[in-house]
């Protein structure tokens, strides 16, 4: 059983249901994490400062066509989490909510890399080229840098003490944005799903508002990037941004471009778990990231 290098083709290939597919090399995947913490993301040397990954979103940009796709991954997705002790020694794996994987890094970089690996494994080893983790302080900064974001209440929702009814228009400013996309009532079963809908909506509207502004100010993405320093940990460079922005000027992001990992919420123990539907996820991954080799 010898290794034969000449039988390996260039590129990433998979076989699924008897057909061959190739990973589209024009697609770059960014794993975006929202960390439920206010401390500066880069600093936390103590594990307790790391927080949990409350929002987990994979942004896929096709740099050739400029199209964007967004894959939302529920924080409660049940996966084998790699557990490390305080010294960074690997202890083993435990099936837990995906959000907990972030906790086990000694540094922000460790945590991000653990999350990238966990999400990549979940998506059947799809390559993830970049990551970006932002904490709670980053949200008002992002929001206000484009002059605020308008949304329409999808359900009855309370923002900073004010109750809005389904259908009410809301102009999100400052901490309102944080509350809108973060708030969930932990006493309500599957409340993280409702929040996911709000997050999708916010992203869509944010994108539309931002793109309109960027057309008038091409340096806006870089200045947003700079203003997030201290509240963001990422391996995206300024060069990456200046490369990507021109590719995406005519891009729109609609609800059709957003998907969620298929599965269902259960309650195996004290915490909710989101159990992935493996067969449906396979279909999604193949359609999302691969093209059939003809």
């Amino acid at each position: 059983m010898e290794d034969t290098p000449e039988t390996r083709k260039e590129g990433l290939f998979i076989t699924y249901k008897g057909k061959e597919y190739q990973y589209n090399e024009d697609v770059i995947n960014f794993l975006c994490l929202g960390i439920d913490n206010s401390t500066p993301v880069e600093q936390a040397n103590e594990i307790k400062g790391q927080g949990l990954a409350d929002a987990i979103i994979l942004v896929s940009i096709n740099v050739e066509s400029g199209k964007i796709k967004i894959l939302a991954i529920p924080r409660d997705t049940y996966v084998p989490v790699k557990v490390y002790n305080d010294e960074g020694k690997f202890l083993g794996e435990e099936n837990q909510q995906l959000t907990l994987q972030y906790y086990y890094g000694k540094t922000a970089q460790d945590s991000c890399e653990l999350m990238v690996k966990a999400v990549s494994n979940l998506l059947f080893r799809v390559p993830i080229q970049r990551y970006c983790a932002i904490n709670l302080e980053a949200i008002p900064i992002l929001n206000d840098s484009i002059g605020g974001v308008d949304v329409q209440a999808l359900e009855d929702v309370e923002i900073l003490g004010t109750l809005y009814h389904t259908g009410d228009p809301i102009h999100l400013q400052g901490k309102m944005a944080e509350d809108y996309i973060r708030h969930r009532d932990t006493d309500v079963f599957a409340s993280s799903m409702g929040r996911l809908e709000r997050q999708k909506q916010y992203m869509t509207n944010y994108f539309a508002t931002a793109m309109a502004q960027i057309k008038n100010d091409l340096m806006l993405p870089v200045s947003i990037y700079q203003s997030l320093q201290g509240n963001m940990y990422t391996d995206i460079s300024v060069e990456d941004i200046t490369y990507l922005v021109p590719e995406m000027l005519d891009v729109s992001l609609t609800a059709d471009d957003m998907s969620m990992i298929p599965g269902e919420v259960t309650q195996p123990d004290a915490h909710e778990a989101y159990i992935v539907n493996s067969e449906q996820l396979k279909e999604l991954v193949v359609n999302f990231f691969y093209t059939e080799v003809v």
Partner: protein
């Protein structure tokens, strides 16, 4: 045949003067008959040699149907069933009398996989891929491990190889695990050693490339072990059960066989020790 025609011509010429033409023709005919006779004799002799060689070759060559019958007979001879698979007994002394390289036995209930496992310390790595338990050359080979795995099934990863035979024998039965219902309802593999029985729980049956596993990873390092485990569980082509806990302590038993029509891929059925 060291026949020198020129010597004989001189001899004939020498005799011509005394015996005359008839004698010459007679001698010529005798010579021709001798040559022809030797030629035919030589031809028959070498043909016989070839036949003997062919027969010897045939005796050394394995025949899959015959080999399968032998495996069946061996099983009947050495395996003593019990109600609890953990109490099944294998007569290793009898098996080793057939071939001392037998050191373990594998049984997967729900399939026809019920074979001795061999390992050679001296032959090349692929010896038992194409030699049977009787050391005859050819298919179906045996179920075997390479000398890089210890024989106690305590390594982090043990790789067991077997052919995917068209007649359904050897490791062909592993392909049943491509069906999810079968995968869910037949999760156990039993490995028998002279001093104990081991129960394994199947956690992944996946299509993998044909890389040489024991050469690609250093499974004793947690990083390589985890990487392999991630790759197995992250395979989009196959069945995986993430509820089965797998660690370096419980190890991975990888059963490897070929996939028809796909020579650059392998079907790997992977299990881990369960208490």
């Amino acid at each position: 045949m060291d026949y020198d025609k020129s010597d004989h011509k001189k001899h004939v010429r020498g005799r011509r003067k005394s015996s005359g033409k008839t004698g010459l023709i007679a001698i010529f005919v005798v010579v021709v008959v001798l040559i022809a006779g030797s030629g035919i004799g030589f031809f028959i002799h070498s043909s016989n040699l070839k036949k003997e060689a062919a027969a010897a070759e045939k005796a050394k060559k394995a025949d899959p149907e015959e080999a399968q019958e032998q495996y069946e007979k061996l099983k009947e001879q050495v395996a003593v069933d019990a109600h609890d698979p953990m109490f099944r007994k294998i007569d290793f002394a009898a098996a080793q009398a057939v071939n001392p390289d037998v050191y373990a036995w594998i049984w997967i209930p729900g399939t026809d996989i019920d074979y001795p496992i061999l390992q050679s310390e001296t032959e090349d790595d692929a010896y038992y891929l194409n030699h049977t338990i009787e050391k005859k050359e050819g298919l179906p080979g045996t179920i075997y491990t390479e000398k890089y795995n210890t024989k106690g099934f305590v390594d982090p990863v043990t790789v067991v190889y077997g052919h995917n035979m068209k007649n359904g024998s050897m490791f062909a039965g592993l392909h049943k695990y491509e069906d999810r219902a079968f995968f869910d309802s037949n999760p156990y593999v039993y490995i028998y050693l002279p001093d104990k029985a081991l129960k394994y729980r199947i956690f992944a049956a996946v299509t993998f490339d044909d890389r040489y596993l024991l050469g690609t990873y250093n499974f004793s390092t947690p990083r390589d072990f985890e990487e392999y485990l991630d790759e197995l569980r992250g395979s989009i082509n196959g069945n995986v059960n993430i509820d089965v806990p797998v660690s370096q302590e419980t190890g991975i038993l990888t059963l490897s066989t070929c996939i028809a029509d796909s020579p650059n891929e392998r079907l790997l059925v992977n299990a881990t020790r369960e208490e």
